[in-house]
Symmetry: C2
Subunit: 115 residues, 2 copies
DNA sequence: CTAAACGTCAACCATTTGGTTGAATATCAC
DNA sequence: GTGATATTCAACCAAATGGTTGACGTTTAG
């Protein structure tokens, strides 16, 4: 499980893999069942699941002859945080941000009352 | 500007491109200036900027002989929403989700009264 | 006008990716 | 044990990716 932003975003860039994640959102599934809705081969799905596992987005546990796939939202959350940090800064825009620092700071100064 | 989740996530999967986005967060920049901190060639950076533009993550405007690069957070926001939806469902966990459906549905059943 | 700065384009290369098929490995069911 | 089920592995293939270099068009500066 590399869990790097590189591998997480790369894993998310494929529509088949996003569809798999959406399926696992509803319930844990065996590899064969994951493959069922898709037209591609089982081996191809197995590879996709490997990519998702390497990215830390899912985990796989073998019980008997069936390997269960389970969503692991932690990796997703990390990437989500990275993106949200952009979303927040975006609203700011540097010039505006500097004005913000100058004008809106009194709000933050509640426990440091004005002189 | 394709703005699909495919292209947005693929664009975000490269560390050079994420670094470029982080730079553009602070200010709009010319292509040459974007390239400056990196060891790779200008042509390579030009390609990365093309990928980011195709994904809708940045826009480029040519003024005189210099092409300005600007962050476009809308594409990022779309992908962020997709990820957050996972983050939310994750907290639910199917069993709990079904209980939720059973107990909280009255809200949604206003115009579809129970039999 | 000439030269430098800005940036892209085209051709090339190595590696990775997403898919295939067929054989191989476990495990379960009888 | 035999056979069906579940999954992976290995070899292969086409296409995409990320990088290089060198030539090319624009625009600005002197």
């Amino acid at each position: 499980m590399m869990m790097s932003l590189d591998t997480v975003f790369a894993a998310l860039s494929d529509p088949t893999r996003r569809a798999i994640l959406a399926m696992l959102l509803e319930d844990d599934m065996a590899v064969t069942d994951v493959a069922h809705p898709f037209t591609m081969s089982l081996a191809a799905i197995s590879k996709h699941l490997h990519v998702l596992t390497a990215a830390g987005l899912i985990s796989q546990e073998k019980r008997g002859r069936v390997k269960w796939c389970k969503l692991e939202p932690d990796a997703l959350r990390e990437a989500s945080i990275w993106m949200q940090s952009f979303g927040q800064f975006e609203a700011v825009n540097l010039d505006a941000f500097e004005r913000f620092l100058a004008t809106e700071l009194p709000e933050a100064a509640i426990d440091a009352p004005s002189d």
